[in-house]
Amino acid sequence: MARVVLTDSLSKQFTNGAGEFEIAASSVRQLIRELDARYPGLGTQVEEGFLSVAIDGEIHQDAFLEELREDSEVAFLPAIRGG
């Protein structure tokens, strides 16, 4: 089961405030489909909403093909750039 962590604005908008929950998924792509199933629109927002994804603490700009482990933590955060 992957542990999903959402930003406040995402959780307010889509999950009625639930900021952390578990989803069964072995890849990020599968996770997004499950998110959309459970919270309609959330998966699409995650895919198109300029977010960075942190898998087990590592930030990915483009994580959609990444595999997840048994108990991976997947955090969706505002896109990080730099200067």
Binding site: F50, A54, I59, D62, A63, E73, L77, G82, G83
Partner: protein
């Protein structure tokens, strides 16, 4: 926890950079050093009003002036729908971008471009500007972030709908963000000590010494070539194509050497203008910004207004942090308020955190990224209040940081769990450093502060071409701001097993290398470096295959060692090693040119942490602050070229010191910029600073073959609070606003003296 350092031949040494000779002889070509025959010159007409409706622009007299070849206004640019851009740095909206580059309905800041002219000489172009008649309807303006949030403030854009909150009517608030961990209210209940403070920072400019410059040449068939100083030639291509209504494939952008960027050259200003002028004039157009234009019209970073509340137990455990951070975005939305919130207390393991951020538009130039965007501002507040907390609890400021330090497994306030980080090590090294216990004299004080930045990876492409003579060319696409091409060459030399002097790194234009995300985000040595390493390994694979062909053995039976193909074992056969040079010489017979290649979206950038120690002396008569000693300790992963890593640390610290002590945008009551020059916008000069000791802690990033971690941005995050904490230590006076310039320090000292006399 530092891993044993492997025995590298090149990585970790201090080589001479390949572009060095050209740079010390003046031969290197920067943005404005480029010329094309037949070139004409462009100049921009800029609004002198902070806020005005543009009722009409009459360019007829300018167009009629002999020597003028083209005049443009917003009419020449198609309007853009509201759509976020992913190719640049901060999330930019094309609708805003086209308006920033050339004003449409309104002039929104002093310096906003309203028209541009190209003429045969600079003098004629400037004369033509004088002939353009703009009819303005001047409006009330607002330039302070808190003022802009008040009811009744002048509104920049009536149609602005804030993201993340509801608005009662027209507003200047573009966005509200929120980050929550645990329950801050409970955390404060559990605290023995609770402090609340407010802080302000002023807008500062990246201060690159080289102004923006471009030459754009559009031929009659619509193909464009652009030479410019930029942090991202692919970004320039994308944005210019979009704004000028041209296909990206028709634009070829060649980056010149770049004279500083720090985030300020991750967007376009002149490039679309020069391109449109060139299109109209049928000639190459050169445009440069004067220093005044750089200050008035290119993006500085945000000014900030913040409130912080912190709670802790008597033993120093921080139980809760709450903060509201308000950053000004300039004329269009897009301040770095999100990363500001995310970085504020990132070095710490705190159970209960509640951070709210506001992005607010005001009549100032649109802000651009500046080295760890947002983080230095929020860290000023966080690291100052933690210092005050330490004092309140009677705890050593490094001790309280050590006690609450984020470690592997700590959940960051912005979401993910940290893994493989080096923050604790930086605090420990600070505690052990001789600087921390050196004696201080009268009017002297010491301050410490910590900082964090995420660092990024991103899209990277590289090619390693093996030349017939056994040398190699490393082709990549990131402008070299701080010596990165030397590191790329060193990593390639290490992989190939050849001499560093035989590896030539080049920075290619948009047509000659695959896509690269821009130079920024502390990513080049990490991400482009990784692509270079993989490309070199690809070349090595091919070299081994060639040897296998020559020896008539299986490719698995060949290994690469010390620049030579060798049989993996005696079972494979008795063969003399084949050098890279000999394999290169026979390449045409064994299969053709040998080119290693790699392109990927690099993930796994490791975050960076730093702890700084600063000593100051405050002159009680003038309020002048002298920085006596500065030590910057940073987790750098692995230093490929130690000198250039030190250089990033020293340079970032110097910018932070300038931000702390003297730099600020000063506005008149008309909303015009009073100090658009280096005389009155005071960046640190050589006599302002001491030597800056850079201590590199190496906790290798296991996601990079050489353990590289981004280093460029973290060093600017701690200095402002480190200096403020040192001033407090020296004088007993807590400065809560930047810059801490002499008049302000003097006023604070006087106020404290009066207060003391009264008590």
């Amino acid at each position: 926890m530092a891993a044993d350092k492997p025995d590298y031949k090149w990585v970790g040494t201090r080589t001479i950079r390949p572009d060095g000779h050209d740079k010390v002889t003046g031969r290197a070509k920067f943005g404005s050093d480029f010329t094309l025959s037949g070139m004409i010159h462009g100049r921009v007409l800029r609004s002198a009003h902070a806020h005005a409706v543009i009722k009409s622009i009459d360019t007829s007299a300018a167009e009629a002036l002999p020597g003028v070849r083209a005049v443009i206004t917003s009419k020449d640019f198609a309007d853009q729908p509201s759509e976020l851009a992913a190719a640049g740095e901060a999330m930019v909206n094309y609708k805003d971008m086209t308006r920033n580059v050339m004003a449409r309905e309104k002039a929104l800041y002093d310096g906003h471009a309203v028209a541009a002219v190209a003429a045969t000489t600079v003098e004629i172009a400037e004369a033509a500007l004088e002939l353009i008649k703009v009819d303005y309807d001047v409006l009330p303006h607002v330039i302070d972030v808190d003022d802009a949030m008040q009811d009744g403030a002048p509104i920049l854009d009536e149609s602005l709908v804030p993201v993340g909150m509801d608005a009662k009517g027209p507003t200047n608030i573009a966005k509200r963000v929120e980050f929550t961990l645990g329950d801050a209210a409970k955390g404060f209940d559990a605290a023995d000590v609770v402090l609340e403070r407010s802080y302000k920072t002023a807008a500062v400019h990246q201060g690159y010494i080289e102004p923006h410059a471009v030459v754009s040449s559009v031929s009659e068939d619509g193909q464009a070539q652009i030479w410019c100083c930029t942090q991202g030639q692919f970004m320039v291509r994308t944005f210019t194509a979009r704004l000028c209504g041209m296909p990206a494939s028709s634009i070829r952008v060649t980056p010149s050497e770049i004279g500083g960027g720090f985030g300020g050259k991750t967007v376009v200003y002149l490039e679309p203008l020069a391109t449109m002028l060139s299109k109209k004039a049928g000639k190459p157009v050169k445009m440069t910004m004067s220093r005044e234009e750089v200050f008035r019209a290119s993006g500085p970073t945000s000014a900030g207004s913040m409130t912080y509340k912190i709670g802790a137990k008597k033993d120093g455990t921080i139980t809760a942090v709450e903060a509201e951070i308000r950053l000004l975005a300039g004329a269009f939305p897009g301040s770095p308020v999100q990363p500001a919130c995310m970085c504020a207390v990132a070095p710490y393991d705190i159970e209960n955190v509640h951070l709210v951020g506001y992005d607010v538009v005001v009549n100032r130039p649109k802000v651009a990224a500046y080295r760890a965007p947002g983080a230095p501002i929020s860290a000023f507040g966080a690291e100052s209040i933690i210092d005050e907390l330490a004092k309140e609890l009677g705890m050593d400021p490094l001790e309280i940081r050590a006690k609450n330090a984020a470690k592997d497994g700590t959940k960051a306030a912005y979401g993910p769990t940290f893994r493989n980080i080096g923050y604790e090590e930086t605090v420990k090294q600070a505690q052990a450093h001789a600087h921390y216990t050196a004696p201080l004299g009268p009017n002297q004080g010491r301050g410490v502060a910590s900082g964090f930045w995420f660092n990024i990876g991103g899209e990277s492409s590289a090619t390693v071409n093996i030349n017939e003579d056994g040398t190699a060319v490393v082709v990549s696409g990131n402008p070299d701001i701080g010596g990165s091409r030397a590191s790329l060459a060193m990593m390639a030399a290490e992989e190939l097993g050849i001499d560093y002097s035989n590896v030539r790194p080049i920075i290619a234009d948009t047509a000659s290398v695959g896509y690269n995300f821009l130079t920024g985000g502390s990513r080049v040595t990490f991400a482009t470096g990784l692509a270079v390493v993989e490309a070199a390994r690809d070349a090595v694979r091919q070299l081994c295959e060639r040897a296998a062909k020559i020896w008539e053995v299986d490719a698995e039976g060949v290994i690469w060692d010390d620049g030579h193909a060798k049989p993996a074992s005696t079972n494979v056969g008795e063969f003399e090693p084949l050098s890279l040079a000999s394999l290169a010489a026979s390449a045409s017979k064994t299969g053709g040119p040998i080119c290693g290649h790699n392109a990927q979206n690099v993930q796994g950038a490791g975050p960076g942490f730093a702890t700084h120690i600063c000593d100051v002396e405050v002159d009680p008569e003038t309020g002048c602050v002298t920085v006596l000693r500065y030590t910057a300790i940073q987790d750098v992963g692995r230093a490929i070229h130690p000198s250039y890593v030190e250089g990033q640390i020293q340079g970032g610290a110097a910018q932070g010191i300038g931000w702390a002590l003297n730099e600020e945008y000063i506005y008149s009551d008309k909303g015009t910029l009073d100090n658009p020059g280096f005389l009155d916008y005071r960046i640190p000069v050589a006599s302002d600073l001491p030597m800056i000791e850079a201590v590199m802690v190496e906790v290798p990033n296991d996601r990079h073959p050489y353990g590289v971690r981004g280093v460029g941005e973290v060093p600017i995050v701690p200095p402002m609070a480190a200096v403020a904490n040192a001033i407090e230590n020296a004088t007993g006076v807590r400065m809560e606003a930047l810059p801490m310039s002499p008049p302000r320090i003097l006023a604070a000292l006087d106020a404290a003296r009066v207060k003391q006399a009264a008590e």
